[in-house]
């Protein structure tokens, strides 16, 4: 592959230019510099596009798609008291939820955490099924099938405090780090690309989970695998 071909592939997909392109990048200092600058541009692009999302968007969507919603919404004498009660409850819950990191800071903290734990990614353990089941149960999830081969599972300290589960999923396409974070609820899903890693933080069970990998495709595939393999309970 020559430099022109590399740049064409990198510009078309900076996250996944392909193995041949990455080989070229490793051998060509000029293209390596170009690629690094392109990835910085890509990160700035994602940040700029990530505008704030209206508060309660997911809840409004779910409300809209509930069965018989029209009958219910058409009768304010029913929904006004319910709304008032929900507001009181939300205010109460807000006081109880530990005020800690924002979702963005949590996602960035998870990336730093994964960077600082390279041994977890390198491990090739045989993790017993009951250990995995317990790890998910502690986070409010029932594991119904193995989402992928697991090469590491252990407890870890989470950004901002508290304990979580550090699990590494080994797929044919590469490894994905899964961090289960009970007690760290997030209002909505969040994706972030930082320091060469993609992270996806999702609400799950008693808090949230994070999936981290270099490849965004791997993260997306792992999201789908988890959706199939785990049944989450509501917040504790």
């Amino acid at each position: 592959m020559n430099c022109l071909e590399f740049r064409r592939l990198a510009l078309a997909n900076p996250q996944h230019p392909g193995p041949a392109a990455l080989e070229h990048e490793a051998a060509c200092p000029d293209c390596a510099r170009f690629f690094m600058d392109l990835r910085r541009q890509e990160e700035a692009l994602y940040q700029a596009l990530s505008i704030p999302v209206p508060e309660g968007l997911a809840d409004r969507i779910l409300l809209k798609t509930r069965p018989h919603r029209l009958d219910w919404l058409a009768a304010p004498r029913f929904w006004l008291p319910a709304l008032a009660a929900a507001l009181v409850l939300a205010l109460g819950l807000n006081l109880m939820v530990p005020h800690g990191l924002t979702s963005e800071a949590l996602a960035a903290g998870i990336i730093a955490h994964v960077r600082h734990e390279p041994q977890a990614l390198a491990a090739e353990q045989s993790v017993p099924w009951p250990k995995l089941v317990r790890a998910f149960a502690r986070s409010g999830g029932d594991l119904t099938s193995e989402p992928a081969l697991v090469s590491y599972a252990g407890r870890c300290l989470l950004p901002g405090g508290g304990q979580g589960e550090h699990i590494v999923l080994k797929t044919p396409q590469g490894k994905v780090t899964l961090i289960l974070m009970p007690g760290k609820p997030v209002a909505a899903a969040l994706r972030l690309f930082k320091d060469g890693l993609n992270v996806s933080v999702l609400p799950a069970g008693k808090g949230s989970l994070a999936l981290v990998a270099e490849s965004n495709t791997l993260v997306r595939d792992a999201e789908a695998d988890l959706l199939r393999a785990v049944r989450w309970h509501g917040r504790a």
Binding site: L45, L49, S50, P52, L57, T65, A189, P203, T217, R231
Partner: protein, 168 residues
């Protein structure tokens, strides 16, 4: 497979944020973007029998959203030039000047380049998935993405590109 209510709740929580952002950058109106996303999920729930496997869910949601946007666009053409960039919402904790500049750059891109770029950057869709949405081949998608990033890159490096009209 039939999508259960439980699965659907997870889908809404997992994908509503990125779909809202995609919708916003298509119409540049927060109210319309929220309407589009709400309608997308309402249609998705009604048409849940048409979903073939959870792995296909994201392209499926994007397809519904694009159709909804196309319907909206037919009723109300939107113009980039009519928008005040200063009114764009800014994410907390970001580099405001840089975000402003990048958003101007995005708005200057012609829709045929902007749309695949948004699908890839915000949605993480593959070139093949984007091609299926746009009705073009994977090579053509790669070409559009390359041109989009080249145009952004020229602006990034301080050069100027001619302003295009919407739809060109």
């Amino acid at each position: 497979m039939i999508l259960t209510r439980h699965d659907f709740d997870h889908l809404v929580r997992a994908y509503s944020v990125e779909l809202f952002r995609f919708a916003y950058w298509q119409c540049r109106d927060r109210g319309l973007a929220e309407d589009l996303v709400q309608e997308t999920f309402a249609r998705a729930w009604k048409a849940r029998e048409q979903l073939h496997g959870l792995e296909a869910v994201k392209p499926w949601l994007y397809r519904i959203l694009r159709n909804e946007h196309a319907r909206l666009f037919e009723r109300k053409p939107l113009s980039v030039d009519a928008r005040e960039f200063s009114e764009l919402p800014i994410a907390d904790g970001s580099d405001l000047e840089r975000d402003y500049a990048v958003r101007e750059q995005i708005a200057l891109l012609a829709p045929r380049y902007r749309e695949p770029l948004l699908m890839q950057v915000l949605g993480g869709l593959s070139c093949a998935e984007i091609g299926a949405h746009l009705g073009i081949g994977e090579a053509a998608v790669m070409q559009r993405l390359t041109r989009a990033r080249l145009a952004l890159r020229r602006l990034w490096l301080g050069e100027t590109i001619p302003r295009r009209k919407e739809g060109t």
